[in-house]
């Protein structure tokens, strides 16, 4: 199969490797190294999409990141990858792509009727058209906009690709491997600096790949090849291709996305798809080059109209002709390079130069090659619908206002060059305020805000000699500052033919009686008339004009449209461009995959998973796990076909009747040590700590300064100056930070140290009337009698040769102990407890049974200590010392916290003793009251009381203390339930606390 537009002896694609791919289900082939764009153009395909608003035919406009048209969707195995630029995506065997934004097909698109209705789609048409009536929104407007909008569909399937993150540090980051990037990287690397050189394209060299220049005694392309090879061999240099530095953030941190496997077929994917680099650079050199500016004329969006530099790159890099009857429309010398390249490949171009009588070496060369040139000529309008067929051209007057001699010329492509726009995006993102440069009619960076410099054409330097010299100097200067080395490399001589003068002309006037659409923003279909309308309607600020017309707001961020838009606004307003100013550039420079941003932190990897040392035992014994913060905890141990409800009831009952064991490893543990530890605890907790004897534990509550309960737990005095503090699982990290804050900043005079020991200890809570009998068998040499180890006592023991710590504390309200051993012995301890506990009918219990046990005892937990409650609300006021001061005490005397009807915890029992009350239900006096029904409070936790075999809940309600005995209602609008209830004491079981002391 021959390719009509492929050239034989030119380009860098691999002719030995044919690659087939499909575009809109039709099969094509290209060569290894082709992009979708170059391969399709080689096959003569120019119609690839439809425009955003008018659904006009779309072809290719550029050859890289600036591409506004050829946005495709990659499809494979029902997976979709939208927003792919055909000019960047390389082809691989089996690649499937399709057009977007057209229905039913790119050739026949129903939406193109918008093009004929364009009087109804002026600037701001969304704001005007879809305003009225409001009832039309959901049924008519929104579906219409959704159908018409967008550049593809995101996949709804889980993205199975792997994305990596990498952190890197360097002396100098250089963004772009054109002449300035290469020269500065070389100079800096040779002087010992650690350099990262990033290139967004697959090939290094930038403009050197396509321009006809000499550096030293080599062509530009040869020179770049030599430099890049040497850089790659240096250990202090990282060179990356297919890598776009897209964001410049604070403190010289830049983010780069590296496309590692996007160009490879799936079968080779043992590599990540993309890698996101977070680079902290001491200095940054922005050498991102410049993007050619379009010229504005009638129907300038027709497929076949493209940037002249793109046409040249398709020839020189890909060996592809964009047309065989090219028209070159230029206001500067760049168009001549493209024309000469056409000529060299056997195609006769016609040059229309807006200038009257320019002269330079390259113009002479074009003339000598016999290329036809028409000076003072312009393209008035492109003709042809799905592809350029001809063009109306005309002579333009010296003042550029009047057209004459309009004639129609046959052509199949129009290559435009309206001079060059420096890519200042990264500099702008860094905070650099740019300034308008009259000479080049574009903005260039001004004063550096961060440690950044812009060099080469990105800085408006368009001669190679100037660029190379500046880049070598900067590379040396910066590296010298960092490394203090003095190895200077010599600067090569440069030969270049083109001059950098350009004609300050950008928009062709309309001929009399014609109303061609002249587009400024190709991706968002913003035409000259739209800007004119916006200004007529009173929009002045360029930021407002941008949002009203959507100029520069598409995924290409106006890379090709911004300056022409500004020119137009300033022309109409009779201002100069700098007065109009420009909109702010924000990251990302190019679209970035969400997957790359997320990296590997997806699904269960979005946070760490922490497991106790007994985790495997739980798994083997049918534990069903629940997330407790980042921990996995057994929720219940399933026997047979048990439900959660049945299993947790069985486990809780067994604790009340016999003995149970629960994995409490996840509790936060903090060692508090030092001569002032007691004094410190006395300030941290609401109750008194100075007199706690060694070998005793105490329950404590700590507040924030605003009086709200922060956490609770028991703390044990292990020895004179050593305390073992426990926190809730959820608050462990916050409590440690809180303690460190007071020790380091508020009371540095206290001689105390705190350190987290959560992971050092494995913990088992042994609870139930049989727990002491079991403990006596576990620790035969330790006196664990009620006298030897009383309630809130602490002892060290010997668990079959393993040192253990035994705390007699209880969360379940039963006679209970917590045994801690070093984590490595956790499983040993657990198996011993289960093994020896058999004769006492031991069963392991999970968090659900644990909740049941604590709820019916009225012990508070996270659902009551929810960041809104003070000690009084949780019936913990007895623990608040009146004598001493502590963190948050002063807040407790504020009026809202002392009013008589302050909320308080109560118990709630349904009158029918069978209907469970949903957590979160409101407690109300009258279920039929007018809405909003005044609520007394809410149900914080619910369980099935195993003691009384009926539902029981805790609630925090207004004036709770005086509500006991009242008949009220629990309402759950979510579950649509209204349940008559009685308010009882929150201490539903064993209110005197006899069992724990038994």
């Amino acid at each position: 199969m021959s390719q009509d537009f492929r050239l034989d002896n030119i380009g860098k694609v691999n002719r030995n490797k044919k690659i087939s791919f499909t575009f809109n289900k039709k099969k094509y082939f290209g060569y290894e190294g082709d992009t979708i764009a170059s391969a399709l153009i080689a096959n003569g395909v120019h119609l690839v999409g439809r425009s955003f608003k008018y659904h006009r035919p779309r072809g290719f406009f550029g050859v890289g990141v600036d591409e506004p048209y050829a946005i495709l969707q990659l499809e494979r195995n029902n997976e979709r990858d939208p927003n792919i630029r055909a000019t960047e995506q390389e082809i691989f065997e089996g690649l499937e792509v399709k057009s977007v934004n057209c229905w039913p097909s790119v050739n026949f698109d129903i939406g193109a009727i918008n093009n004929f209705l364009k009087m109804f789609f002026p600037a701001g048409f969304y704001y005007k058209t879809f305003m009225w009536p409001p009832s039309f929104w959901y049924k008519i407007y929104e579906p219409f906009i959704r159908m018409a909008a967008g550049f593809g569909e995101a996949s709804i399937k889980h993205d199975k690709e792997r994305y990596e993150h990498k952190y890197e540090y360097c002396d100098l980051l250089i963004t772009g491997s054109g002449p300035s990037g290469l020269a500065s990287a070389y100079a800096a690397a040779k002087n010992g600096a650690r350099v990262i050189l990033a290139e967004d394209k697959p090939r290094y060299g930038g403009s050197l790949l396509t321009s006809d220049v000499n550096i030293g005694n080599q062509t530009g392309a040869e020179w770049s090849e030599k430099i890049i090879t040497e850089l790659k061999s240096m250990s202090n240099v990282i060179v990356k291709n297919r890598s776009q530095v897209f964001g410049y953030y604070d403190h010289n941190m830049l983010v780069m996305s590296e496309r590692i496997s996007d160009h490879l077929p799936k079968t080779q994917r043992y590599l990540p798809k993309q890698r996101l680099w977070y680079i902290r650079a001491k200095e940054v050199l922005i050498s991102s080059g410049s993007i050619e500016r379009p010229l504005v004329f009638g129907n300038n969006d027709t497929p076949g109209v493209m940037l002249s530099s793109a046409a040249k790159e398709y020839m020189k890099v890909y060996g592809v002709l964009v047309g065989k009857k090219p028209l070159i429309f230029t206001n500067n010398d760049s168009g001549y390079e493209t024309a000469i390249e056409f000529k060299k490949n056997g195609v006769n171009p016609l040059i229309l130069d807006t200038r009257k009588d320019p002269s330079s070496d390259i113009i002479s060369e074009a003339k000598n090659l016999g290329i036809e040139i028409k000076f003072s000529h312009v393209v008035v309008a492109a003709k042809g619908y799905k592809k350029v067929k001809s063009a109306d051209i005309a002579k333009i007057s010296d003042n550029k206002k009047d057209l004459s001699n309009i004639e129609n010329i046959e052509c199949d492509c129009i290559c435009v060059s309206g001079f060059w726009t420096p890519s200042i995006h990264l500099a702008s993102q860094s905070g650099n305020k740019s300034e308008f440069n009259e000479k080049i009619d574009a903005f260039i960076p001004k004063k550096s805000k961060q440690k950044e410099h812009t060099i080469g054409s990105a800085n408006g330097k368009f001669t190679l000699e100037e660029t190379i010299k500046e880049a070598f100097d900067k590379g040396y200067e910066i590296s010298n500052k960092i490394t203090e080395n003095n190895n200077k490399v010599s600067i090569p001589t440069v030969v270049e033919k083109k001059s950098t003068e350009h004609d300050k002309f950008w928009c062709v006037p309309l001929p009399k009686g014609k109303s061609y659409k002249r587009f400024l923003d190709f991706q968002n279909d913003v035409a000259v008339t739209d800007i004119e309308l916006a200004l007529r309607e009173g929009f002045r600020s360029i930021e407002h004009v941008k949002r009203y017309t959507t100029l520069g707001m598409a995924t290409d961020q106006g890379k090709t449209s911004n300056l022409n838009g500004l020119q137009l606004v300033s022309d109409i307003e009779n201002k100069v461009v700098p007065q109009v100013g420009h909109t702010t550039f924000r990251p990302p420079y190019t679209p970035v995959s969400i997957g790359a941003i997320v990296g590997r932190e997806v699904g269960k990897h979005s946070k760490p998973t922490r497991k106790s040392p007994m985790h495997e035992w739980h798994e083997k014994n049918n534990a069903v796990f629940v997330d407790a913060g980042v921990w996995l905890r057994p929720r219940y141990y399933k026997q047979g076909n048990e439900t959660l409800f049945e299993a947790s009831k069985r486990e809780a009952k067994n604790v009340r009747k016999n003995v149970g064991v629960c994995d409490v490893t996840t509790l936060g543990k903090i060692d508090v040590k030092g001569p002032d530890a007691a004094e410190f605890l006395n300030r941290v907790y609401t109750n008194a700590w100075l007199k706690l004897p060694v070998g005793k534990a105490r329950y404590g509550v700590m507040l924030r300064e605003d009086g709200i309960v922060m956490d609770d737990g028991t703390t044990t005095r292990i020895s004179e100056n050593h305390y073992h503090m426990t926190t809730t699982t959820a608050q462990a990290a916050n409590v440690l930070s809180h303690l460190e804050y007071y020790l380091q900043l508020v009371w540095p005079e206290l001689n105390v140290n705190v350190v987290s020991t959560t992971e050092q200890w494995a913990g088992a809570a042994i609870a139930g009337p049989n727990s002491r009998a079991l403990l006596m068998k576990l620790f035969p040499n330790t006196d664990v009698s009620n006298e030897g180890l009383p309630f809130m006592g602490y002892k060290e023991g010997d668990l079959f040769g393993i040192p253990a710590k035994i705390y007699r504390i209880s969360f379940s309200g039963e006679l209970a102990y917590e045994v801690n051993v070093e984590s490595d012995f956790g499983n040993f301890m657990w198996e011993k407890i289960i093994d020896i506990g058999k004769e006492f009918q031991i069963q392991p219990y999970g968090t659900e049974a644990l909740s049941t046990l604590r709820i019916e005892m009225g012990h508070v937990a996270g659902s009551e200590l929810d960041g809104r409650t003070i000690p009084h609300d949780a019936s913990l006021e007895g623990l608040v010392s009146k004598k001493k001061d502590f963190i948050g005490k002063r807040s407790l005397s504020r009026s809202a916290f002392t009013k008589p009807d302050r909320e308080k915890i109560v118990g709630v029992v349904p009158l029918d003793k069978t209907t469970s009350i949903p957590e979160g239900s409101y407690i109300v006096k009258d279920p039929n009251a007018k809405l909003p029904n005044p609520k007394l409070g809410h149900v914080s936790a619910s369980c099935w009381s195993v003691e009384y075999d009926n539902p029981f809940s805790l609630a925090i309600i207004k004036d709770g203390k005086n509500m006991i005995g009242q008949k009220l209602f629990a309402m759950s609008p979510l579950k649509n339930k209204t349940i008559p209830v009685e308010i009882v004491s929150s201490h539903y079981v064993d209110p005197e606390g006899k069992r724990v002391r038994a």
Partner: protein, 89 residues
């Protein structure tokens, strides 16, 4: 992402730190009688200046030390960082 110089560890990325608010706030002394107004000022009222701000950062994924950072809130420029026991009046 900011690059913060920890006086104990050296320059580290912001994601190792937790922000801790205004470093100039002084907690009233324990056991001292103070008015509701004074207490409210301490607990709730903070200035939110544009420009220089002395603030606390906690090097939680590093040395666990609280440090003081003098930062410009609009440009993020960091002028100087201090140990917890510096700049105490």
């Amino acid at each position: 992402m900011l690059y913060i110089f920890c006086p104990h560890c050296g320059s580290r990325s912001q994601n190792e730190f937790a922000y801790g608010g205004d470093a100039t706030v002084k907690r009233p002394e324990l056991n001292k009688e103070i008015s509701d107004q004074e207490w409210n000022n301490f607990v709730y009222l903070r200035k939110s200046p544009r420009g220089k701000h002395l603030e606390l950062w906690h090097h939680i994924s590093g040395c666990r030390q609280w440090i003081k950072v003098e930062r410009d809130t609009s440009t993020h420029e960091i002028f100087k960082t201090y140990k917890a026991d510096e700049l105490t009046k």
